[in-house]
Amino acid sequence: MSIAATAARDLHTDLDATAIPGLTRAAGVGLLTVLLLLTLLFIVVAMRRLTAEYFERRRAVLIAQTRPSILQVLAGDGPDPESWARLSEVSAKVWRASEPGVVALLGKVRGGPREALVDLLNQRGTLARARRDLRSHSAIRRCRAVEMLGAAGDGGSVPVLLPLLADRQPEVRQVATRALGKIGDQAAAGPLLEAVAGPHPVPPREVSAAIVVLERAADAPVMLTASESSDSRVRSVAAEVLGLRGAMVAAEVLVHLLLHDESVEVRIRAARALGRLGVPMALKPLHASLTAPSPELRAVAARSLGQVGGRESVIALVGCMDDQAHRVCVNAAESLTALGDPGRQALRVIANGRSSRAAAYAVEALALDALGRRQLERVGI
């Protein structure tokens, strides 16, 4: 007889599963638990919905008390004394409900109304609280505080915001980066650049975007110094920013980066920046980059040549219409149309000529050029 059969005989005289001790109780407890939890969850969902609706209604009522005054502040060039007094005197409860709306408005208005809102936030102690919250243990509070100070353009808080570029929480670092960009203090450009390469780095895109927003930062020596940094991420950002800010004084530096930098990423950004600057001195280095090993660099160089212009690029661009990389051919052909009649003429010759591959790109570019002109005609340009 099998062990199973013996065990079964020992335990049962019937197929009565209750022979397992406590099974009935377990089933009862299990079912009861599930039912209880279901009821509890239902109550939680219902309560959440009811309380959320209640608080939404309550908030709407509270906000309605300040809305007319805020609109009057926004409508005028300076603070209307009556509205100002009303907003200064509303209860803490009403202000708490209205505050997020006021902060959100900061990014949408300029001039006198904006200054009035900042004054209001100062008077209500919102900005002072935000400065205190910069030292909070909660990353959320730090972020909220930084965001508020940035939106208010609070120049006085720059020294306390700078250390947050190395905060342990990535979102705090990013919010601090954006806030420093909005505040626009050029003193932040150097630390922002360093933040790209720190032990807790900030995404280069965030840093570039912030520095581009900083007034005249691209003309500052700090950008040119950054282009000599030993860290390629810093050099990349410097190249990007110099191009975006149209810093003509940087053309030589960018040419040097394009020709000699060891990082392909930096060279690509330098090529792109030179295209944006559109300076003739970029032509030769860009021509040289058309034969670089990196297809992405070749593609960017081809596009930049179209942006710089000049008929001397026609031959160079025609030369890379047979490139193995699709994007290089497309950009070269598009750039030829951007060079005007000499470029278009070259494309027509290629379209009727030797290489079927190059001809296809030439035909495409000419068709897109015609389409572009048709689109411009439609809008009356």
């Binding site: 599963a17 099974l23 969902v45 919905r49 979102e171 990013q174 975007a209 581009v212 975006l244 497309v330």
Partner: protein, 507 residues
């Protein structure tokens, strides 16, 4: 009854019963863990949403441009509105590439009329292999050059997407269904992880929600409402639990296996390197994700695939049993095929948590689940049947129904609990269904789901797995859909609309 028969019967009743109870406890507990993970993610997401910097992302010249790929097969009814909605997304630089996969209706003609398309002799590179030849590429003469329509021979959805990838100009490709309705900021949100962590993020997926019953205006969901048919209502809560909660949970632990083809964003260069989408696999979207996991892990790359819980792509869910059955068979077949194709990854620590956790979980709790589910139904029927017959005095032996009750609690009670937990999370985070009545309907749907719907879908899923194992020809074809309730278009939109599936006659 002999002792041996007695013992066998005992093991069949008690052993099998306990086996299934343990199985359901495990599967539901794993979902509970995913729910907790998703909860943590939602809390983090909602608390941080105010300072994510979406406005800065929108206004920045450095935001990575995106190519939106819309495969379309016989979409003449809704394609114009869909493309218009895509061109109105809030995003700095993007193009919309519609791939007409050999439609037999007027898809191309209506697009040509609406956007003044002209044929352009565009060079389409063959970076990814395709089957259906490109017949023509059209571009709009209106506005910027950001609407491209490519007409190709029918080759299926994967082939259409691969053609779109070849045509894409930008470094990120976003795959959307032609009948998906995106929230205005959807593209900004799914791109954010790429902008924040460009070195590591390789793909992001957006959440899919059921659009049935919702009001749509100018290609935007303006009023989120519960649909009327119960079949659709159940899918609303099912999508909430399975897509929103499940995928967010997996993403939280870095083991997301599925990004829906209805809304997914990928790095183009990596998709090209991986060979594009597989055209011999039904679940091409998930297969691509698994292939990326596999390839990048084998290359020793540090990478992230991220699920973005908000905002969303809205899609119409089937309202008929026939259409739903086809869909579920296809999904299950897709998952089974993917797991078979990449079986080397299952349990393999080389692939990290994807290998040792996610893929075994999918084998145990996605592929096997419908079989156990149906076995549970049979088991319950047998036990309750025997008990009933005994009570009626028709047979001499009895069984204890306690186990059956425990099984019900472990399988269905626990499942309702999980769905309610998902609803609770939704209430505490996004609260998209604003009408109170819709919430009660959702609660009821969480219960009703277990009676009939669950068993039906289990049956279809079993059938899908069997099809995959037997390698039978895939079940494609078109499926009619009702279209959204359009506030502006009214009756015109309420007409029948054809589904996105791009497998046409050739497949």
């Amino acid at each position: 009854m002999t002792e041996l028969e007695h013992a066998l019967s005992w093991w069949l009743v008690v052993g099998l019963g306990w086996g299934m109870i343990v199985y359901f406890l495990l599967i539901n507990t794993s979902f509970l863990i995913l729910t907790f993970l998703a909860g943590a993610e939602f809390i983090s997401h909602v608390r941080r949403s105010a300072f994510r910097g979406y406005d800065e992302l929108f206004s920045s010249a450095l935001t990575p441009p995106v190519s939106i790929l819309m495969p379309a097969y016989n979409e003449s009814t809704g394609i114009v509105e869909a493309v218009r909605a895509m061109t109105a997304l809030r995003y700095p630089e993007y193009e919309v590439i519609v791939i007409d996969d050999g439609s037999t209706d007027e898809t191309l003609e209506v697009l040509t009329r609406a956007f003044d398309l002209v044929e352009v002799p565009k060079v389409v590179p063959a970076e990814v292999a395709t089957r259906g030849a490109v017949e023509a590429v059209h571009m709009s003469t209106q506005g910027a050059r950001n609407v491209v329509v490519v007409r190709k021979a029918n080759g299926g959805k994967s082939d259409a997407l691969n053609t779109g990838i070849n045509l894409a100009r930008y470094p990120l490709v976003c795959m959307v269904d032609a009948d998906s309705v995106l929230d205005p900021d959807a593209l900004l949100h799914v791109t954010k992880p790429f902008a924040d962590d460009p070195e590591h993020v390789v793909a992001t997926g957006g959440v899919i929600r059921a659009a049935n019953g919702c009001r749509v205006r100018a290609g935007r969901v303006v009023d989120v409402l519960m649909p009327r048919p119960w079949l659709a209502r159940i899918q609303v809560v099912e999508y909430l639990r399975a897509f929103l909660i499940g995928r967010t949970g997996w993403s939280r632990v870095g083991a997301l296996l599925i990004i829906s083809g209805a809304f997914g964003l990928f790095r183009r260069d990596l998709v090209v390197q991986a060979g594009g989408l597989a055209d011999d696999c039904i679940g091409e979207d998930a297969e691509l994700v698994v292939r990326l996991h596999r390839r990048l892990a084998e290359l020793g790359r540090d990478y992230r695939i991220v699920f973005v819980a908000e905002p969303v792509a809205w899609t119409e869910v089937p309202e008929s049993r026939e259409v739903l059955g086809k869909q579920r068979r296809r999904w299950q077949r897709g998952i089974t095929e993917i797991l078979l194709r990449h079986r080397r990854m299952v349990g393999n620590p080389r692939y990290g948590l994807v290998g040792v956790l996610a893929m075994p979980w999918f084998v145990l709790f996605e592929v096997l689940a419908p079989f156990i589910e149906l076995a549970g139904v049979v088991y319950l029927a047998v036990i309750l049947g025997i008990a009933g017959l005994h009570d009626a005095g028709l047979i001499g032996f009895d069984v204890d129904t306690t186990l059956a009750l425990l099984l019900l609690a472990a399988a269905w009670g626990y499942a309702v609990l999980l769905t309610l937990a998902a609803l609770a999370l939704e209430e505490f985070s996004f609260r998209r269904y604003r009408r109170r009545r819709d919430l009660w309907v959702a609660v009821l749907a969480a219960v009703v789901e277990n009676v009939g719907y669950r068993q039906l879908t289990a049956w279809w899923r079993v059938s899908g797995t069997v099809q995959a194992l037997r390698s039978t020809p895939p079940e494609w074809g078109t499926m009619t859909r009702k279209g959204f309730t359009n506030v502006d278009a009214g009756a015109a939109e309420a007409g029948q609309r054809v589904q996105t599936g791009t497998r046409g006659p050739s497949a």
